[in-house]
Amino acid sequence: MIKSRKLRNMATGLGLCFPFFTLYTVFTIWPVIQGLYVSLHKWSLMGKVKYVGLDNYIKFLSDQKFVDALKHTVIFVTLSVPFLVVMAFILALFANRPVKIRRGLRIAYYLPSIISVSVASFIAKYMFAPYMGFVNGILHAIGFLESGTEIQWLIDTNHAWGVITVMTVWWTVGFSMLLYLSALQDIPPEIYEAAEIDGAAKWQQLLSIVLPLLKPATYLIVMLQVIASFKVFGQIQLITAGGPAGSTKPLIQYIYETGFTKNNMGYAAAMSYVLFAVLVVCTLIQRTIQKKGEQKDES
């Protein structure tokens, strides 16, 4: 009787897990293993060509284009992460003030995040287009730009990075803003009241009370943003296509082109593991921080 119950539980349990297990194994776990195998081969879109051992891994060390793509990705991370985190913090402070438009503010700051990367990139591209674009139009209207002159936003590398960074902040800052907002709301109101009684000015409260209390949230947000920024692909491909002259091409775009345009899947898979390693290390750091935060919560 007990044994049959056990068997039945086992059958039901495994049966219920089966669809998830299959899809998860085929599309999440198997590609990780398959990728290692592919990376040891010369591999085209049609399939395996020949075994080359570690050649693909040795190759990228001396591949200037790979080094450049990695460099561009790091540039993007260093440009976007501080900007995103500071902006998220400011917006969260705005949306946390007890004003009537509070909910409206939150909705507005997060709304761009709901748009797909294609749409967000195209809107940004048109916004920054010369002659007809919104941004140059505004600059003309306020007299910052003389009539007859245009800023060519996407032809200069520095300007292009500016457009990509501003677009990314606009498009993705909502998420971190919400994380900060929830951290702000976790601060007990008594703490502010105590500070008020002690005569601390608002900005003093901000520096000496709010900032230290938001440390765990800040660590978490920084790590999540580093991870997200390392994965940058869509907006750069759609706004600058990696240009001008390949000067903004990030790692994923180079992997994508190597694999699917140049038909060299083996090399693309090998390069993917560099990204994989970076992201796994960042994720491990993030999870450790998060665990520490939770343990503190409980104690």
């Binding site: 998860y24 198997w30 004003v99 507005a108 761009p112 809107i123 991870i227 869509g234 898979a269 993917s272």
Partner: protein, 276 residues
């Protein structure tokens, strides 16, 4: 005196926060007004984009006379199926992992947790090879199946289901209810909140997914909106009106869902971001 000063500061802050909100909304509002213009309108200044006459004709043109309608349909089909399968398969597995005792359960859960460490972007090349070898490239199955089994959703559901008292389930078992009955009649109705949060995120995630559909579809009949729109827009070099209309068609469903479920979305992000 002091009091007045803080008041003035507070007004300035409110004004700044509202300005920021306008800046965040401006690109979307601009895109919307562009989509209402007649094609070929002379743009003399920024104001011309916003001035009448308006028309909804562009929307009609695109939905009737272009590929955009096809991509819209593909996006809808894919997003709905991804959402339904995600809910069903994740909830089934989560129920087994949280409420049925069987050998190997813990190891199976640990195996499912591994997925939290796998960045999908870094396995895109072998994922393509896998999908190609099982012949799902350029099919709905290829667009849908890879995004169904996400570890994060499973973890959220397992955590939630564990909170449902065992006594409820034991009582039903004594009454002779089978596991499927318990799952459908007790677990699912009690989990509406978490299930709807996961549905919203699955739907919006699928609706906006770009990298995988880009790789998975070659035939323009199978494109989803995020893949099709850049190609569609690329055929217009001078006029912004039609591309912006396509952008608005692609964004409206997500924006409407967002405005309706804003509170739930905010809660979901806070839950998965902070506690996840």
């Amino acid at each position: 005196m002091n009091h007045k000063k803080t008041n003035a500061g507070s007004v300035v802050l409110t004004f700044l926060s509202a300005m920021m909100a306008i800046i965040f909304l401006a690109p979307v509002i601009w895109a919307f007004f562009v989509s209402l213009q007649y094609e070929g309108k002379q743009i003399k200044s920024v104001a011309s984009w916003f001035s009448p006459p308006y028309t909804f004709g562009n929307y009609l043109d695109l939905i009737i006379g272009s590929d955009v309608a096809k991509w819209l349909l593909n996006s809808v089909i894919v997003a709905i199926l991804v959402t339904m399968l995600t809910l069903l398969f994740s909830a089934m597995a989560a129920y087994a992992l949280s409420k049925i005792k069987f050998t190997g359960r813990n190891n199976l859960f640990l195996y499912f947790l591994l997925g939290l460490m796998v960045p999908g972007e870094a396995t895109i090349v072998p994922l393509f090879i896998t999908a190609n070898s099982i012949h799902v490239i350029d099919t709905y199955a290829g667009l849908i199946l890879p995004s169904v089994a996400a570890s994060m959703n499973l973890v959220i559901m397992v955590t939630f289901f564990k909170g449902i008292p065992d006594s409820l389930i034991e009582a039903a078992r004594i009454d002779g209810a089978g596991e499927l009955m318990i799952f459908a009649r007790i677990i699912m109705p009690l989990s509406k909140a978490v299930l709807s949060t996961i549905s919203i995120f699955s739907f919006i995630g699928s609706w906006n997914n770009y990298l995988w559909p880009l790789l998975c579809t070659m035939d323009s009949n199978k494109f989803t909106l995020p893949v099709g729109i850049p190609i569609f827009a690329g055929t217009y070099t001078v006029d912004y009106v039609k591309p912006m209309t396509a952008n608005m068609i692609a964004s409206m469903p997500a924006i409407i869902i967002y405005l309706i479920f804003e509170k739930q979305i905010v809660q979901g992000i806070t839950m998965s971001g902070v506690k996840g």
